[in-house]
């Protein structure tokens, strides 16, 4: 071994350190003003070696991030879904309320129109209760004697006859419906002007009795109040004939009547305060 290499071996630590420091110093010096080709080549070579693991790791991290983001998004979507479901429920309720208000407005508008068109004074009333048994058909109105309501006053809706007031308290009144088994009202077939008695019925709602045997009565005929009996003014719609019965040996024929008013949906009604004028309802209000 030559003396030079022996010297190198003896001071190899210092030689290695000095060499690396000189190389690093030279590299730095070469870039002080402009990057030289050799430095660029070294940098590119290092980057070429180092970039593949970086690329692979970046792809892996991106994959993990995508999965994680997807999971987070899924959770967020689930939470948002729950929130939106809640909102939908609230909005549905709101829509129902608005629809209810719209229907009520329609009903009240019709009542108002009737009020303005009818030749007698009317007061509107809200149905606050229905009969507690299945034996009778009555409803309770929120108007009573304090409002001028009296017994036997007719109660109507824009669709037709509801019934008559049978009991009055200062703040409420009970109305016997047309369909009550013990109610009765004079009826008149609009087409043929045949009269009969409209009575309530458990089975079919209402029937028209005492129609002359030879009278022309047909399905679909409109029946209005006849004005006879002194309770109901003439011309208030009662209903429509749905079936006609002619029993052999009987003196009269009977008919089944579909009331003009849907009693199951009765929410507001009007009390005819002054039923004195017996004529004119047919032409004016209904």
């Amino acid at each position: 071994m030559s003396p030079f290499f022996r010297l190198l071996a003896r001071y190899r630590r210092g030689v290695v350190l000095t060499t690396t420091l000189i190389v690093a110093f030279l590299l730095l010096s070469l870039q002080v003003r402009h990057e030289r080709t050799v430095v660029t080549a070294v940098r590119q070579a290092l980057l070429t070696v180092l970039s593949p693991p970086i690329t692979i790791a970046a792809l892996a991290v991106q994959g993990v991030r995508d999965v994680w983001t997807g999971y987070i998004d899924l959770r967020a979507i689930r939470q948002e879904n729950l929130r939106l479901k809640g909102e939908v429920a609230v909005l549905k309720r709101r829509i129902d309320q608005l629809a209810e208000q719209a229907l009520e407005t329609q009903r009240l508008q019709r009542l108002l129109a009737l009020h303005q068109a009818a030749p007698v004074s009317l007061i509107s009333a809200r149905v606050i209760g229905k009969d507690a048994t299945n034996w009778f058909k009555t409803v309770l109105l929120d108007r009573g004697s304090a409002d001028g309501v009296r017994r036997n006053l007719p109660v109507v809706t824009p669709d037709g006859l509801v019934g008559r007031v049978v009991e009055v308290t200062p703040t409420a009144s009970k109305v016997q419906l047309l369909t009550d088994p013990v109610s009765a009202a004079g009826g008149l077939l609009q087409r043929t002007r045949v009269t009969g008695i409209v009575v309530g019925s458990f089975a079919v709602g209402a029937r028209v009795r005492y129609l002359p045997l030879m009278a022309d009565v047909g399905v679909g005929d409109e029946v209005v109040t006849s004005g006879m009996g002194g309770v109901f003014p003439k011309g208030i719609p009662i209903g429509r004939i749905t079936a006609v019965e002619r029993k052999s040996g009987a003196l009269f024929q009977e008919a089944t009547l579909q009331p003009a008013v849907n009693f199951s949906r009765l929410e507001e009604a009007m009390v005819l305060m002054d039923p004195a004028p017996r004529e004119g309802f047919e032409a004016e209000g209904w």
Binding site: R12, R13, V16, T20, A24, F25, L28, L50, A57, V61
Partner: protein
């Protein structure tokens, strides 16, 4: 640790510094994985190998950074050499001492880098560089280094426990 161990460590370090730490949201206060690698690898090496490995690690960091090539290579060569020379005398298992050594090494490397930058490029403002770069980086790197050391010892501790 042979060549493949060094290559594996360097690859992990490159991935950690260039991909993992940025993707974990580590921003300005990112620990210096390359410096930690120098500390970890050179502590059991002879000064020559430690110097060369420090140089190579620094060169790789320079290649991935926007600074001039050779800046960290210079600093890590000296650091590797110093660690290899001192490790037998100051080797310790105590976390606080390890933290102090890591902090000292990081800070000294930072100061050396500052000097080189001032010599070759332009003198950066001293106090802000100290306060916002060198010291925070030293603290974060030392803390992260302690965590890495603990993780490296964990399998051994678990085996002993069993």
């Amino acid at each position: 640790m042979g060549f493949w161990g060094f290559a594996a460590g360097l690859t992990l370090c490159v991935i950690g510094q260039a991909v993992l730490l940025p993707s974990l949201g580590a921003g300005a206060l990112r620990p210096d994985c390359f410096l930690l690698l120098v500390c970890l690898l050179t502590v059991r090496l002879g000064p020559e190998a430690a110097t060369l490995q420090g140089f190579l690690i620094g060169l790789c960091q320079d290649a991935l950074s926007g600074g001039p090539l050779g800046l960290r290579a210079f600093a890590y060569s000296l650091l590797g050499f110093a660690i290899a020379r001192l490790s037998r005398n100051v080797y310790t298992d105590k976390p606080f001492a390890q933290f102090c050594f890591l902090l000292g090494g990081t800070t000294l490397t930072g100061l050396l880098t500052l000097g080189l930058v001032a010599f070759f490029l332009e003198m950066p403002p001293l106090l802000p560089t100290l306060l916002w770069v060198i010291v925070p980086e030293g603290l974060v790197t030392a803390t992260f280094g302690l965590l890495v050391l603990w993780l490296l010892r964990l399998p051994q501790q678990m085996t002993q426990t069993r």
